[in-house]
């Protein structure tokens, strides 16, 4: 079977759901994203945001937006993640949704906090200084949440 892109995989999952006699199914982490933004918000989309276009007004023109949605669901180097986050830190409303399994670094960074969930939060706090941050994550995530389709580490920032 050919490797599917992240968005195709999400669409395919909806077909799994259709077999369960339920009209519409949403992962809780995706629903949080839909609830965070309003339909009037014009949102800059970065990363794998296609899935959210069905209900949100997502565009790729930075100048026209003051809200931002970042979905990291592909292998991403830590330094690239930092660059992305730095570029959006002045937006009014920001949602960052990360598949933490897909991050990587190329060097041993001894200054980073040992607990991974705390380390990601610490990185976010250092970039989004003095902002209100809501943090969601699943402790001891063992794949049951299908996180490789739908990221479960999320930050909602205002």
């Amino acid at each position: 079977m050919a490797r599917l892109k992240s968005h195709d995989w999400r669409v395919q999952q909806q077909d799994f759901f259709k077999n369960h006699l339920v009209k519409e199914v949403e992962f809780v982490q995706d629903q949080r994203v839909f609830d965070f933004f309003s339909k009037q918000d014009i949102i800059l989309g970065i990363g794998h945001v296609d899935y959210f276009k069905k209900k949100l007004n997502i565009i790729n023109n930075k100048k026209k937006c003051n809200h931002c949605l970042v979905v990291i669901n592909e292998k991403t180097l830590d330094l690239d993640l930092i660059k992305i986050l730095e570029s959006i830190k002045n937006f009014k409303k920001i949602c960052i949704s990360i598949n933490k399994f897909k991050l990587y670094t190329e060097s041993h960074r001894s200054n980073i906090i040992e607990d991974y969930d705390e380390a990601i939060l610490d990185l976010i706090k250092k970039i989004f200084v003095k902002k209100k941050i809501k943090h969601f994550f699943v402790k001891n995530l063992k794949g049951f949440n299908f996180n490789f389709a739908s990221p479960t580490t999320q930050f909602f920032i205002k």
């Binding site: 079977m1 995989w9 395919q12 077909d15 799994f16 759901f17 077999n19 369960h20 339920v22 009209k23 519409e24 199914v25 949403e26 992962f27 809780v28 629903q31 292998k75 830590d78 933490k100 399994f101 897909k102 991050l103 990587y104 670094t105 190329e106 060097s107 041993h108 960074r109 001894s110 980073i112 906090i113 040992e114 607990d115 991974y116 380390a119 990601i120 990185l123 995530l141 063992k142 794949g143 049951f144 949440n145 299908f146 490789f148």
Partner: protein, 175 residues
């Protein structure tokens, strides 16, 4: 609208859905590399998308039973059951064991992975080929690079080789 936390919140998945999920777990990129490095001999493939033949015995988790057509495949309920391991050792006595992207070795911390490899290695006392994708390993990925973790997992084994496919995909050859 139904809001779910995981697939566990749904009832049984369809056979088609199970086929899709199984094929995503068992990445073909590893199989190609494995076929190049495997020695000749009698092998047992457990939860590894193996294709049975006269020298290859294939075991799969019972939960996937309905997606396979081959009648040569055997099914187990518990990967680490002593009964399963004893039967494999006694009745097949393989030259090597293949664990190719097995679910049993996913979403583990490096320490948990080492422990599981030790159990398998100590029990079967034969060569083991274990493929892993570091994406599915649970460690602090902002702090530690893959290369360091991959080496540390097997560093205390007496005999091992690490075959690198790319920066994320590795095959351990143990014993």
């Amino acid at each position: 609208m139904k809001i779910i936390e995981s697939y566990n919140d749904l009832n049984e998945l369809s056979i088609d859905a199970k086929k899709i999920i199984y094929s995503r777990i068992h990445d073909k990129n590893f199989t190609n590399k494995l076929e190049k490095i495997l020695p000749f001999g009698k092998s047992v493939w457990i939860d590894s998308a193996g294709i049975p033949d006269k020298n290859r015995y294939v075991f799969e988790n019972r939960k996937w039973k309905e997606i396979f057509e081959s009648k040569e495949i055997k099914y187990y309920k518990d990967f680490f059951s002593p009964t399963l391991m004893q039967s494999i050792k006694k009745y097949i006595n393989p030259d090597f064991i293949v664990l190719n992207n097995s679910e049993e070795f996913r979403y583990l911390t490096p320490h948990e992975l080492t422990t599981k490899i030790e159990i398998i290695s100590n029990y079967y006392q034969t060569k083991i080929f274990l493929s892993i994708n570091t994406v599915f390993l649970d460690f602090n990925k902002l702090k530690y690079p893959n290369s360091l973790i991959v080496e540390n997992i097997v560093i205390n084994f007496l005999k091992y080789t690490i075959h690198k496919i790319d920066n994320f995909k590795y095959i351990y050859e143990i014993n």
